[in-house]
């Protein structure tokens, strides 16, 4: 049922996957980078799903009210920052479990976003502009695959910056020390609690920006079903990326491509087993998690203070 030869169909499938990766991956990228910063400090924030949804809602609302989508992105980030501060602050109290706080923050964030977002379902807010990287090509499919949002290159740059910063900068070393051995950090005079709260707030900011991408660029509308668990998946991504920002970026792109597989195959007329292809991102998560928790080679690079890795 393909229109041309097999090679043509394959080429257009590859293009569709590339397009999907570039379109869908940005929220994964931002949330996983945010979570990476948070977890490097020894905290885990499962509430990023709630922050993502709240960011999507507030970004859409501010863009609608102010007419500027960039103000929306900023507002979404600030909302995430406040939620991150809340998580960081609560977890700094004695005997508070960060996983439990994260789950309640997730429910709180989504609930608050649904409640405040009721009047935002109908109106159309101004969208973020796109970059036409494919303008040189005369293939419409390539043009559309390379039509990206400026947040994607910003996110990739951020991944590079974090990768360098974690290894080589003063703040990166402090962050890692706090995450690996709080006692040693304290002995060296680092403010452990403040650094952790800061890292959680920064993670929240990035998750909020990821949410704004969902509502202001792709798919580009506010709706209560907007996030299909991107925030939670991103937390899983960080673990399988072994707390390495570059691998986070790679994983986010891979997830975007996997998500595009189902629709791309069906649009080409390959429709058998679409349930399986639609489940590809989740199957991928399970497979990667299983592979990365293999005994013997597990958890290289895991921050030592992470409650997830302590027994």
């Amino acid at each position: 049922m393909s229109d041309g030869g097999d090679s043509l169909a394959f080429g257009s499938l590859a293009l569709a996957l590339l397009g999907g990766a570039l379109r869908v991956s940005t929220p994964f990228l931002f949330v996983s980078l945010g979570e990476c910063i948070t977890e490097k400090s020894g905290r885990i924030n499962l509430g990023l799903e709630g922050i993502l949804v709240l960011g999507a809602m507030s970004g859409y609302g501010v863009s609608l009210a102010s007419g500027s989508p960039w103000l929306g992105v900023l507002a979404a980030g600030l909302c995430g920052l406040v939620m991150g501060l809340l998580h960081g602050g609560l977890c700094s109290l004695a005997k508070v479990n960060d996983i439990a706080v994260g789950i309640s923050l997730m429910l709180f964030g989504t609930g608050l976003a649904f409640f405040l977002g009721k009047p935002l379902i109908q109106p159309q807010a101004p969208m973020l502009p796109s970059l036409e990287l494919g303008a040189w090509s005369d293939s419409a499919q390539l043009q559309s695959a390379l039509r990206i949002n400026v947040l994607l290159p910003l996110g990739l740059l951020l991944a590079l910056l974090l990768h360098w910063g974690f290894r080589a900068s003063r703040w990166g070393l402090a962050l890692r020390l706090v995450g690996d051995n709080a006692a040693a950090a304290r002995a060296l005079g680092y403010p452990v609690v403040a650094i952790r709260i800061g890292a959680t707030a920064a993670g929240g900011f990035l998750a909020g920006v990821g949410g704004a991408f969902l509502s202001l660029y792709y798919p580009g509308s506010w709706n209560e079903g907007l996030s299909s668990g991107q925030g939670l998946m991103a937390v899983a991504l960080v673990i399988f990326a072994r707390w390495n920002p570059l691998r986070c970026a790679l994983a986010a792109l891979l997830f975007g491509a996997a998500g595009a597989l189902g629709p791309a195959l069906q649009s080409q007329g390959i429709t058998a087993g679409y349930y399986l292809f639609n489940a590809a991102p989740y199957v991928l998560t399970l497979a990667l998690m299983a592979a990365s928790w293999m005994p013997g080679r597990s958890l290289a690079g895991a921050p030592g203070e992470l409650s997830l890795t302590q027994r």
């Binding site: 379109r23 379902i121 559309s144 079903g225 299909s228 668990g229 649009s267 007329g269 679409y274």
Partner: protein, 374 residues
Amino acid sequence: MSASRIRSHRRNLLRLLGAGAATHMLPFGIGRAGAADKLVVGVIYVGPRDDFGYNQAQAQAVAVIKKLPGVKVIEEEKVPETVAVQKTMEAMINQDKATLIFATSFGYFDPHVLKMAEKYPSVRFAHCGGLWTEGTHPKNVGSFFGYIDECQYLNGIAAASASKGKKLGFIAAKPIPQVLRNINAFLLGARSVDPKATVRVIFTGDWSLPVKEAEAANSLIDQGVDVLTCHVDSPKVIVETAERRGAFSCGYHASQAKLAPKGYLTGAEWDWQTPYTQIIKATIEGKPMVNFLRGGLKDGFVKPSPFGPAVSAEARKKSDAVKAAMMKGDFPIFKGPLVDNSGKTVVAAGKVLGQQDPLLEGMNYLLDGVIGQI
């Protein structure tokens, strides 16, 4: 999602507390006086009421019945198709004294509505989309639905007339009979304009998955499809994506014309106030529950959206002629010979399936010309 389930549980709890508090404050008898002389109608939606789609179409009808004298309406949104809907129904019956419940989502019917109907035989349950069967289902349950495939046929005419390459796209949630009937009717409408027109189908797997719907719309357009339509709960994302990419779109459930001023051709809309009013009238007059209620264009259950600017005069004429025949009731959409896309004859030559034919409510094939698999 578990989050929304917990939310609705919490809401039930709050309502319980609220109801308890209210009856404590009032002297006996007064608290219920207002409700006793009015018919309390409960309406349950699966999503938000203003979703530019399925739930909005229901809510528009509810807005009409709210104005009826002697009717009090209570509503709850975002109730999942799980045991949560049973809890919502029980809360409406016990706390709000509802005696007629509209359960508007397909998945509420079996087992949830059926279970509640057995437990509360004096309450009437009207379900949208189910197939009530004499003998197997309780008498206090009724199902209502509309022959929206008539409007999908009209969508097909407009779509094939506007399309350059005669490649059309259909983004569907799940391969259930109602959805397949819509896809097939859309194809037959398109083929009445151009016998070579094809419809590519993408199943997303669930009723509301905005990212996947946008992804499906983009990949169809990448494959050269230039008109999109859909059967998902909220067509908003699909219609907006088509407009951004310069493709045409046909709407579904409610009018999305506002979202795509250039590319919106027409749409298949519900007009639920007719069945809602009929069922409420029967209840107030004490007549038996309307168990099986169906209707199409002729009966005012469905209506096409007004044509958009991109629909040619010729297409308008053709569509209006078919619509006039449907309004008279002599335009069967499915008439033989019809072959499915695996080559099997599904409707024999000479056989005509009228709109009321129960065979159509169990449709399990995609016709030749539809590219896709169930």
